[in-house]
């Protein structure tokens, strides 16, 4: 089994659905951070069978938890200080997300005015439905 060492300060995203870690890496813009990032794919998991894990050595404030919650709010966020887990952050669905997903409705004003931000709001927390702020089209 492959071993990836402990990190001193940063965060570990655990219980990522297998195969989803690269998508998260992109959405969290981890490529823009000048720090150590470990992407672990298909790790063995008692709970999930297979899972992905991301270990990032940087300040927790640099992580956009809203984006993370939108993508998968069942991910476990462990905050690490001095090599120990000091906090487990619960993820709640964000009320609004900006420029994470795009509106694909060809009749939406965002389809012709390029400079507009793509803003989605949480329309139905129970069913986890997000709608475009401008045209109210459901995000699928």
């Amino acid at each position: 089994m492959l071993n990836v060492g402990k990190i001193e300060e940063g965060f570990v995203l655990d219980h990522i659905k297998a195969g989803k870690s690269l998508e998260l890496y992109e959405h969290l813009q981890l490529d823009k951070l000048d720090c150590t990032v470990a992407i672990i794919k298909n790790a063995r998991s008692n709970k999930m069978g297979k899972k992905d894990i991301l270990k990032v050595e940087c300040d927790i404030d640099r992580l956009n938890l809203d984006v993370l919650a939108f993508i998968d709010h069942s991910i476990t966020v462990n905050v690490i200080k001095n090599g120990e887990i000091v906090e487990k952050k619960a993820l709640v669905l964000p009320k609004q997300i900006t420029n994470v997903i795009k509106c694909h409705n060809p009749r939406c004003i965002t389809s012709i005015e390029q400079e507009l931000p793509h803003i989605f709001y949480l329309a139905d927390p129970e069913k986890e439905v997000y709608r475009c702020k401008y045209c109210e089209e459901k995000y699928k």
Binding site: E115, L116, K133, Y134
Partner: protein
């Protein structure tokens, strides 16, 4: 500063005040003839809609105000590629309030975000047309005396008709309303609307033939069934007459039932019905002016 993007932007109490004002304008037009002296309404119509534009222009003119604007995108700076955000910033310098119609959904909201004057959504694609809904509500309230305590039949294209969807959403906030949806299978009201009614415990039924339920109705809201909405010619021919209101069908209805239609009508209401006292669709157009007058006054803070 307030804008109007959706008919649900106003609470039921705010709508009551708006409708009271509209009814006062109806009774005492002279009292409001100079209420907007020196004010300018910009009608920014990126697609033609003569009836809605003229209704807004009539409303502002009857309040003593002036109107500037354009009536299609080709005659506006949009044809040079100007964004809605930029256009509204300029219009904000020229006018005190703006009514915007745009083929793209959400365009008036983009305008409202960048505007320093109130913006009224005068229709954005298939999305919202709030002043039509306000017109419908004012017509019902004025002619029946109250919003609530009635059975309304919505007839025709209930799948694609945004007017119908907005009206159902708006009426769902009032008490004791029962909906009867009258349409062919292909054009039934979307699930998200019936889900909303179920959730709120509002009674509704879906039927195919108008004759079967017309006797139960206090209000009949007609819409057009367009041929291109059908999958095949055969179904269209078989069903189209179900959704045409003529005197034979109207004779089955109650004496005090009201017939509404957002207009323009094509052939879904026979002209013979126009002379019947139950036909309220031309009065509806008149209420459309009153409600827009009340809206302009309210958004300008002059109410």
């Amino acid at each position: 500063m307030r804008h109007l993007m959706s008919p649900l932007d106003f609470t039921v109490e705010e709508l009551d005040r708006l409708f009271d004002l509209a009814n006062d304008i109806e009774r005492n037009p002279e009292k409001y003839a100079h209420a907007c002296d020196g004010r300018i309404l910009a009608t920014c119509f990126y697609e033609p809609s003569t009836r809605t534009r003229l209704s807004f222009e009539s409303a502002m003119t009857r309040l003593g105000g002036q109107v500037i604007g354009f009536s299609d995108a080709a005659s506006s700076s949009a044809s040079k590629g100007e964004s809605v955000s930029d256009t509204i910033r300029i219009i904000s310098c020229y006018a005190d309030i703006c009514a915007m119609r745009h083929p793209k959904e959400g365009a008036p909201m983009v305008a409202a975000e960048k505007s320093s004057i109130p913006v009224i959504n005068a229709g954005d694609g298939g999305h919202q047309h709030p002043t039509q809904t306000l017109t419908d509500l004012l017509t019902i309230r004025s002619l029946r005396g109250t919003l609530g305590g009635f059975t309304i039949g919505l007839c025709g294209d209930l799948k694609f008709g945004r007017t119908v969807h907005s009206l159902i959403h708006a009426l769902a906030r009032y008490r004791d309303i029962r909906f009867l949806f009258i349409s062919p299978e292909e054009l039934r009201v979307p699930d998200y609307i019936t889900d909303l009614l179920k959730k709120k415990g509002i009674p509704y039924e879906e039927v195919i033939r108008l004759e079967d339920v017309i006797a139960d109705l206090d209000l009949l809201y007609m819409t057009r069934v367009q041929k291109e909405r059908f999958f095949n010619e055969e179904d269209y021919v078989r069903l189209k007459d179900f959704y045409i209101l003529d005197m034979a069908k109207l004779s089955l209805a109650r004496e005090d039932m009201l017939v509404l239609h957002p207009l323009p009508r094509v052939n879904e209401i026979s002209v013979e019905v126009d002379a019947d006292p139950r036909a309220a669709y031309f009065k509806q157009a008149q209420y459309g002016v009153y409600v827009r007058m009340a809206l302009i006054l309210t958004l300008l803070g002059l109410a």
